[in-house]
Symmetry: C2
Subunit: 345 residues, 2 copies
DNA sequence: CTGAAAGCGCTTACAG
DNA sequence: CTGAAAGCGCTTACAG
């Protein structure tokens, strides 16, 4: 007669079974159950089989909470971004996710809306939950806001240079040059009256891209016109409104460099609404190369920053610190950008 | 001489201080530190002050991990959505977040890309991490996939009716009627050749909205034409491609009902690319009323499903189960939809 | 008003 | 090849 454990999934008892219940059902110690699960120590074949059957029958799922507390590693990384509806960030999230998943880490996504209070709140939350790693794409965070995270030994990487120092790794495109290259292309096409729709200039990112615009224009000996510089909030809506103002000028620009693709797509909307031909009457260049850039009409000429790769690199930097030795000089990994010529300029 | 604790933030010792270190610094037991923090028991004013000073000086942050293990509540809710770049879902996430935040819960966001494997993976992850609540906006999940979650006592709410049963609460618009009302509006405007760009018809949501289209057309005595029914993948890109096919028909439609706004915006793109006037030559109606619907040109006529409110209600259902008595009949909360007439139809 | 001790569910050094 | 026990960092029933 084959012996059958009478362990069964008990639907009356609330909660999931614990390792002790599995041990009892398989008639071994929980030490052995733990090793059967982890493979950290050899377990006799028959014992292994009994344990696996018990796990199956009880529907056992180890508590990641208890495991994390014991091991002092949560196998979780946090990703804080300003706007999940901007496809740049989900692409980055996927790159990160893929990089860390094979090492058993889960990436948690937090959307701050670019609000500094929310940014700090999520960092605190991440510290309290003892994430192992943190990737920050933030606008209003300062190094001091990360003191607890650093002290907690949380591996941290900043997307963009604004949070270097304190042992924080950085992965970053050269935003100033990327913006400059976009402007350069417009200059090459013969444009001289080139506007920009900048991001919020109080942010490091917005300032860098604006600087690239100004510097390249100056390099070409083009007189800067303050009326051609508008700041918006990185969104399509913001880009639309800023472009509408530019088009209403007595002397409107013949081209506009938008500091990200979402605003560039908004500029396309504005041109269409005003009956302005793109690129005939207004050339539009973006920055990022989100997936939608290729899909809009006209397809957007832009400078590609490889979001997925940025996420992947951030994940690899995290893994080096999470899996490797604790102290290392902070790394800064540059990411190459690339002009993508389509139909809008 | 005022006595000063010599407790200091020790930057050499890795990791955050524990409650024991705070207790030692404040010269009390950790029991008292715990109560000073929670307020669950009165603490003498002087003691409280000493503890607070020690916490401050040491930079103590309680471990949510240890707390969760002890209390068997993680104060975390998970939200699983198919596509964060569709603004409907971030809006829903914000509604959920706001509802649960005041009770001390954090909402974790997972983006599956509509992939069933990812959906199951995130549910398992949520169970392993012992989240207290789970909100599911999924396409390929079945009730059996939630057995572990239910057994773990995780409060669960489904956005849409596809996961009712097993004690799961539901918050749902009447998708069939919402779609029907969109079609009704087109009928009232005199259209008879009405196409639809449906969602994936294998999904409950896609099927319901398609059924609404068919049923209302039949009710009006309009002969159904299979050539006017196209399925796409809920994205702007998908909507663009489907609309292009519709417009290339020998007998193109005079109106199209799109099963969500993102596809409707894609249809607008396609019409523009083909030089088709909207609404003159093609009326376009969407469904959802995402923020962008009001911003596109022409502004989208659509049927509003209040994403933020859906999220809020989901949060309230969760809270009832998480904070209240364990067993209750599953609830199903209907959400009202509403036709929003703008310029595209 | 305060503390010693047990226990949440795991992992692993130590022992046999 | 396997087990008893300690311990991760908290909370709380029990006791004084």
């Amino acid at each position: 007669v084959p012996e059958r454990s009478d362990a069964q999934i008990d639907l009356d008892r609330p909660g999931l079974p614990t390792i002790d219940e599995v041990a009892a059902a398989a008639q071994v110690s929980k030490t052995t159950v733990s090793h059967a699960l982890s493979g950290n120590r050899p377990v006799a074949a028959g014992t292994q089989a009994r344990i696996e059957r018990a796990i199956e029958e009880l529907g056992y799922r180890p508590s990641a909470l208890a495991r994390s507390l014991k091991l002092a590693r949560s196998h979780t990384v946090g990703l804080i971004v300003p706007d999940v509806t901007n496809p740049f960030y989900p692409a980055l999230a996927r790159g990160l996710q893929e990089a860390v998943a094979s090492y058993g880490y889960l990436a948690l996504l937090a959307d701050t809306g670019g609000d500094g209070t929310q940014e700090r709140r999520f960092v605190d939350e991440a510290v309290d939950r003892r994430v192992d790693g943190l990737v920050l794409s933030t606008f209003d965070l300062h190094e001091a806001d990360l003191d607890d995270a650093v002290r907690a030994g949380i591996a941290t990487v900043s997307i963009g240079p604004q949070l270097s120092g304190r042992g924080i790794d950085v992965v970053s495109a050269d935003d100033e040059r990327a913006a400059g290259d976009a402007v350069e292309y417009l200059l090459e096409r013969g444009h001289r009256r080139i506007a920009t729709i900048a991001g919020p200039t109080a942010t490091t990112l917005g300032a860098a891209r604006l600087a690239g615009y100004r510097q390249r224009l100056a390099g070409a000996g083009v007189e800067p016109d303050p009326a051609l510089v508008r700041a918006a909030d990185w969104t399509r809506d913001g880009g639309h409104a800023a472009a509408a103002q530019l088009l209403a000028l007595a002397a409107p620009p013949t081209a506009v460099f938008c500091a990200n693709d979402m605003m560039a797509i908004g500029a396309l909307d504005a041109a269409r609404a005003a009956g302005i031909d793109v690129p005939g009457q207004l050339a539009v260049v973006g920055l990022d190369d989100i997936e939608a850039a290729a899909l809009v009409t006209p397809a957007l000429t832009t400078v590609r920053i490889p979001a997925h790769e940025v996420g992947r690199i951030a994940g690899e930097l995290l893994l080096k610190r999470m899996e490797g030795p604790r102290t290392r000089e902070p790394l800064s990994v540059p990411v190459a950008h690339k002009l993508i010529v389509r139909n809008s300029a």
